[in-house]
Each structure stands twice: as structure tokens, then as C-alpha cells.
Amino acid sequence: MNDIKSIARMLADEAGTAQPITRERPFPVSDMPMMVIPIELAGESPSLFALGVATGANDLQIAICHEPRNRTGQYDMLERAAGFMQSIVAAWDADPLLLPQIVTPSLGASRLALAVIDRMTFAPPSRQALKDLGRRIYVADSSFERADSSLVFDLPTALGRLYATGQDDHADQHLGVVLEWLKPADGRIHHRVREAEAYPASTATSPELDNEELVPRLEAYRTARRIHDAAEAARLEDEIDAILVEEVKRRHELMIQALAAIRVFPDSTVARTIQAADRGRFDRYRTYASNPANNISRGLAHLYGTAQFLEREFAEDLVGGLAMRSVSGERSAARLRGEIVVAEVLNRTITQNKKAITVIYELLSTQDRLSIRPGDKLVLLGPYEFGFKIRSYGQTQAGTRIEAELTAGKTKPGQPAIGDTIEIATPMTDNFRIHRTMDIAWNRFRSNRVLPQVSGPVPVQHDLLSIVQRARRLQPTARGRTRP
């Protein structure tokens, strides 16, 4: 995507407004996402001041904890938020067509949301309702940052896959700023950006707000509680509430705008594939977690780490291939990188030796970059994926001349003809092969015997002599008999 996005950035800079970089959306968006807006106590992640939860249908609920360092207060707040989260999860459970999805205002907020789910899942036994909810959505943890999942996503990153702004990647992490770029040009973009930057859109409140508003009130609140001045404590609670509600509401407003801008783009095939994968993952996990006897693995359990790594690698391949075929922006980027070869058919020769048919294509590509080598297997990007094997290539005045042998579909109709312009690329990773490899990997891990815990010295006896003697007795002779 780099060159396309860079060019679009230069155009956005000139126009003073963001430029789209694709026609379709490479990821799905739920009709009922769980918008999670955590506000943390600076330096105290994952202790929260406030947690906003919404679905985008004018239903923002905010739970506040006036004393984030108090564990009981934290769990009480989480329980209040969990009440609303619970109703969203119930809706996901009831409608198999709904995509379970957690949406946040920043990457930091996504991490914090996962830390909150972790905290719920492993809450003390007295908080059973929290534990139950945490278990049901803990699947989000292992799905995070997977190419084939949109179970958890942050809006600035999502917008960055659809639009280019006239600023750098780092600045694009501020949701409020990106939304300013999405507005029509008015010649004041840098001024508007500076204004938006003054209001944090991620998890922390600004140091000025902390130092001038929150710190003194929190201190006064603690004092009021200590001296049992209920009226003063209640007054301060109201004031702290007002500040935090304002912070959550501002982020919520930005998120609503961002979701609207994202929904303008139609779903692509890869988005639908990711949606199906996420829904399947959520359902399987729900079945697993509904049995209290099943343990939840926290983070990437080291035993399964390799298998999970493999799975992620395969997913990356699969989603990359699909995106290239179904998202215009990804396809253009792949052409620029030379991963899709665009070539004109110069010649096509068919030879027959007894029953064997050989079809050789001579192609000409004018692309600047090509990522092919002799022996590469490529397929035609079209309704039927004819297979080619690159035999050789060489540079000429007109471009790169490629000799490719048709290896699949030799007898099929609709083969490219002389004068056609074709696009060929690496074939998609075969889903069946991925599953087979993963099944083997998982089975190996599962069949790993759990080694017993040993404490104290273990007596070990080696009787090498008897081992050798036994081996000799079983060794076959040259005539196929066992030697005595």
C-alpha cells in the first residue's frame, strides 16, 4: 500500500482534505459493535476512571470510579459497565448473523479494553458475573492483531486503511485529527488539526486537565471521605463525574463520526471472509467457555505459542491473497509492488507430443517492479484461475519479456489469447492444506504428555549392559532371523 498511500498523502496535503485510497472496505464492521471507551488514571493502567460502552445507537452508558486505586471501587465500576456489555453479548449470541466486534478510539484503548476483559475474566470468585462475562468475550484476546480478525479494532487504524491524510502516520493515530482531515477543504486544515490535537482522544486525560481539575478534586474527595463529610464527598463526586462524562462523550462522538465514514465503503470479499471467521471463532469459543471445567489460556500460552504463530502466518497469507483479489486499493498496491504481473500476451504456442500438450505463453510486462523468478507458479486473476509456471524472463527495450508455461487448465476454454492483457499472481494458500497442517500441529501439542511435577532428588538407574544385551537379542541377522 505504501506508494499509493504516499501519493495520496501528497495529494491530500495539496488539497487540504483526505483522499480515499480504495473503493471497498478490507475489513467488516458490525451492525452492533461494542464501542468501548476506557479513561485511565494516568500512570495507573489498567486502573480506570471511567468506562464508556455503546453500540452506536444513541445508547452510551458510562460507569465511573471516583477512586481508581481502590480495587473494590474498580470492580464495582466494571460490574456496572458489564451490565450493559452483557446485553450486547446476549444480542450477539441470539443473532448468528451479527458480527461480534469491539471498537475503540485508539490502539492504546484497544489494549486497555483487552486488559479490562482480562481483569474481568480473572476477577476474584466473589465477582462471578464479571468472570462469566469475561470468559465469554476472552476470545478477543487471542484474536487481537490477527490478519483474519476484526474482533477488536481501533478506528484511527481502520480509517488509515481507507483514506490518506496530508500528515504522517504518527499524527494519524489521533482520531479527532483524522476526522478533521475527512472534512471538506476550507483552507484551514492545519489550524483545525491544531485545535483537535489539544483534546486527547485516546485513554488518558490531558496532564493540564489532571493537574488543574482532577488532582485537586480527587484529593479533596479523599479528604471528605476520610472525615466522613458525605455532603462534600457527594458534591465532589458530581464534579468529577461531570469532567469524566465530558471526556467519554467527546470520544464517543468522534467514534460515531468515524464509524459513519467507514460504513460508506462497501464490504469486500475479504471483509466477508473475516466476518465469517470471527463469527465462527466467537461461537466455538462460547461453547468452550460455557463449560466451567474448561480453562481459559491467558495470553499466548507458551505450549501453543508455535501453533498460534503458525496459524497467524497462514491467516496473513490467506487474507493477503484475498484482499489483493477483492479490494481495489490492495490490488493496485500489489500491481505496483509487482506481486501482480500485468502483461500483454505476445504469443501463444501449443505443441503436442503423443498425448502431452504443452502451451507456452510469451508475455510482455511494462511494470517497473516485478517480483518473479523462474520456477514461480502463478495463476490468472479471473473467473477461472489458469495456472502458469514462469520459465524465464529478460529485459528488452519494450519491457520485461516473460516466458510462461500453462500448467493448469490446458484443456479448458477461455484461455488468454494473443493481444489480451492479463493479470497473474501467486495462488491463494489452499484452505484445505492450512487446516490439515494446523490439525497436525494441534494434535501433536495435545498429545504431548504432561510431565509430572517432581520435587526432591530423583533416583536414576542406568544399566547400560542389559540395554545393550536386549538390543542385541532383537537385532535381525542378515538372513532375517533374530540373533540369539
Binding site: N2, D3, I4, K5, S6, I7, A8, R9, M10, L11, D13, E14, Q19, P20, I21, T22, R23, L41, A42, G43, E44, S45, P46, S47, R71, Q74, G108, R111, L114, A115, D118, G166, Q167, D168, D169, H170, A171, H190, A204, T205, S206, P207, E208, D210, N211, L214, V215, R298, G299, L300, S328, G329, R331, S332, A333, R335, L336, Q367, D368
Partner: protein
């Protein structure tokens, strides 16, 4: 040389350079501007405010500050019991007797009398150097832990001398060399720990390790420096620590590169500016070459100044590293756009970039059509 630094500061107040500030420079090692400002003993946030009139919030949130200092206090309390337990849990200290040297206990370090403070600091440096030499020599009385060691590091030739204070230097059993431990009140959230937090702590540990190496060499100790550091973070919901051993090869290399960069001395800075010029004037600051990058926003108080400058010059840096990689060779975004829209290229490099831009432009149009 102190006079040179004073002249360069002009009316701006002197600020001590600590590792936190040095790490700023390590985050953009090719930036001459920031390095010169630091070498002259100027706090970048003060400069931005006083010279350019930007209101930057150099201050941290009161919550975070309190969090940091109380975590540190808890780590060092009761003979550093919490710290020792955490290092032992991570297998970085043996279970047997652990001897601790707390440099903070040297009297006079926090005295309000500058002369007493200076003397105490000299003694802190000496005690630290003695402990490092004792450990290298394998002496039994060498401490396993040095809290708040004072390491001297010279910032370029004739630049300010920096006193680095790593939170912990630790060594196991008879190890001849200390390793650096960096304590931060960041939460240890296992696989969800903020990458930026880890990077910041590791970068700081890299600078400390280079300082430790310099002290070792000047004390005649030639053991190889160890390229791992203990990152000591807070267990969420408590004041206990979780220690993780982190490889810091890259951070050490970055710190070395940063120290080897020009300007190596204050006279280099004077040479760039011309004689008699001070950094209390905007024009003089802007005369120092800068290399803005998006990441500057996260650590350098001057970012708005440098971004405005980059934008005014139509520098590709203002649009991020990928734009810079694509069109950096033509010098400006303006020129790149002209080429993209068909202006005749002036040389083979421009012709090459024009071809790439036009191909990209065609693809972009196809992608959104």
C-alpha cells in the same frame, strides 16, 4: 568551555542533563538541533516556550508523577526488599545474601547548599566507581546492588558532563560486571504491556549501559559490557514489581551512535551558528539543522517548531517516512507533485521518480474510480 555553554544559552536558564533528556536525543540521533540544545544545557521545553511562544506541556500528569515516585520509594524501602524479591523471582539475583549500596544515603546529596551538594555528588561518583572496580576485581565486599549509582558521561568533547543515575546496577554472585536495571511505574500487563513503555525503558537502559561502560573503561576495567537490562515494572493493582530481562543491543548501539554524532563539541555548535550567537533567538535555533520525523511528536517539545519548518519548506519529512523514501531524492513535495503532474524532469533521478509517481498515480485512480 562552561563559558561557551553559557554564551550559547544566552538568557535561557541552565538545566541539568539527565538520562531522560539524553534519551530524547537517542530517539532521533541524526538531529543536530536537539543535541546542540541539550549539550548547551538548555531544557527544550523552556526553549520552545520562551523563544517560540508555544505552550508545550512539559509537565506530566500529577497522577503519573505521584505514581512514579511512590513506586520508586516502595522499591527502595526496607533495604530494597521489594526490588530484591522481584530480581530474585526473575532469576537475576541469587537466593543467598544480597549486599546493597544505596548511593542516596550519602549525606548532602539533597542539601540546599550548592557547595555541599557538589561535594556529596563528587563522593557519590567516587563510591560508585569504587564499587564497579571492586566487583571487576572479584572482591567479596563488592555490593550486588547499587541503587541510584552516579555515572559520569561526557557529552561530546567539551560539552556538558552528564551524571547518569540508573535506578539499579545489579550483579549476581561473582559476576565481574554490573547490569543496568530500569524501574518504571508502567504496568506490567504481560503480552498487553504497552510497546512504547518497553521501548522507553529499554532506550534509557541503553544510555545507562554506555555510561557504565565509560566509567568501567576509565577505571581500567576491560570486561565486556553485558547487553541485557532488567526492566522493572509495576504489578497492576499493587506496588510490587515484576522484572523482565530485556535485550538492549540495539538501544546501546543507538546510544553510542547518538554520542558519536556531530556536533561532538560546543565549538561545533558555535561553528554552525557563527560567533556570538545564542539559542535564545528563534533565528539561531532554526539555523541548527533538524530532521523532523512523525515520532518527534511523542518525545520532543520542539516538534511543532520543526513540523512548521518542514511544512514551510515542503519537506517530504512532514508527510512521514514512506513519502520521504519515495520522493526524498527530489528535495520537496512541491517538486514531486510537479513531476507527478508531468513537469519535465531535470535529471535522471527525477526522471526515475517521475516514472514511479505516475505509475502510482494511475494505480491510485484505478483503485478509487
Amino acid at each position: 568551555m562552561h563559558d561557551v555553554a553559557k554564551n550559547l544559552r544566552g538568557i535561557l536558564p541552565h538545566a541539568n542533563i539527565d538520562a531522560r533528556r539524553l534519551v530524547l536525543s537517542a530517539k532521533n540521533p541524526s538531529c543536530v538541533r536537539l543535541r546542540a540544545i541539550l549539550m548547551s544545557g538548555i531544557a527544550p521545553a523552556t526553549l520552545v516556550h520562551e523563544v517560540f511562544g508555544f505552550s508545550v506541556s512539559a509537565e506530566q500528569s500529577g497522577f503519573a508523577l505521584r505514581q512514579g515516585s511512590s513506586f520508586e520509594a516502595q522499591l527502595y524501602a526496607n533495604g530494597a526488599a521489594r526490588l530484591i524479591a522481584s530480581l530474585q523471582d526473575a532469576g537475576l539475583l541469587g537466593p543467598s545474601r544480597v549486599s546493597v549500596l544505596n548511593i542516596n544515603n550519602i549525606p548532602g546529596l539533597n542539601s540546599s547548599d550548592a557547595r555541599i551538594r557538589r561535594m556529596a555528588q563528587r563522593s557519590a561518583i567516587k563510591v560508585t566507581e569504587q564499587a564497579i572496580a571492586a566487583r571487576a576485581a572479584g572482591r567479596a565486599n563488592a555490593p550486588n546492588l547499587i541503587l541510584q549509582a552516579n555515572l559520569r558521561l561526557s557529552l561530546g568533547t567539551g560539552g556538558e558532563e552528564v551524571i547518569l543515575r540508573p535506578d539499579v546496577l545489579y550483579a549476581r554472585g561473582n559476576d565481574p560486571v554490573y547490569r543496568v536495571g530500569e524501574a518504571k511505574s508502567f504496568s506490567d500487563l504481560a503480552h498487553l504491556t504497552d510497546e512504547q513503555d518497553v521501548a522507553t525503558a529499554a532506550a534509557q537502559a541503553g544510555v545507562y549501559t554506555v555510561g557504565l561502560e565509560e566509567v568501567m573503561r576509565s577505571a581500567g576495567v576491560h570486561h565486556t559490557i553485558l547487553t541485557e537490562a532488567a526492566l522493572i515494572f509495576r504489578r497492576p493493582g499493587s506496588m510490587n514489581a515484576v522484572t523482565t530481562l530485556q535485550s538492549i543491543d540495539r538501544d546501546i548501539a543507538t546510544a553510542r551512535r547518538m554520542l558519536a554524532q556531530r556536533p561532538r563539541s560546543l565549538s561545533d555548535v558555535v561553528q554552525i551558528l557563527g560567533p556570538g550567537k545564542a539559542l535564545d533567538q528563534a533565528g539561531n535555533v532554526l539555523q541548527l539543522p533538524s530532521t523532523f520525523m512523525g515520532g518527534c511528536r511523542s518525545f520532543c517539545p520542539l516538534w511543532q517548531v520543526c513540523l512548521n519548518e518542514a511544512r514551510a519548506a515542503s519537506s517530504p519529512r512532514a508527510l512521514g517516512t514512506s513519502v520521504e523514501e519515495l520522493v526524498g531524492a527530489v528535495g520537496s513535495v512541491r517538486r514531486a507533485r510537479e513531476l507527478m503532474h508531468g513537469a519535465p524532469p531535470g535529471n535522471p533521478v527525477e526522471a526515475d521518480i517521475q516514472r514511479r509517481l505516475q505509475e502510482g498515480m494511475t494505480e491510485l485512480q484505478r483503485a478509487v474510480a
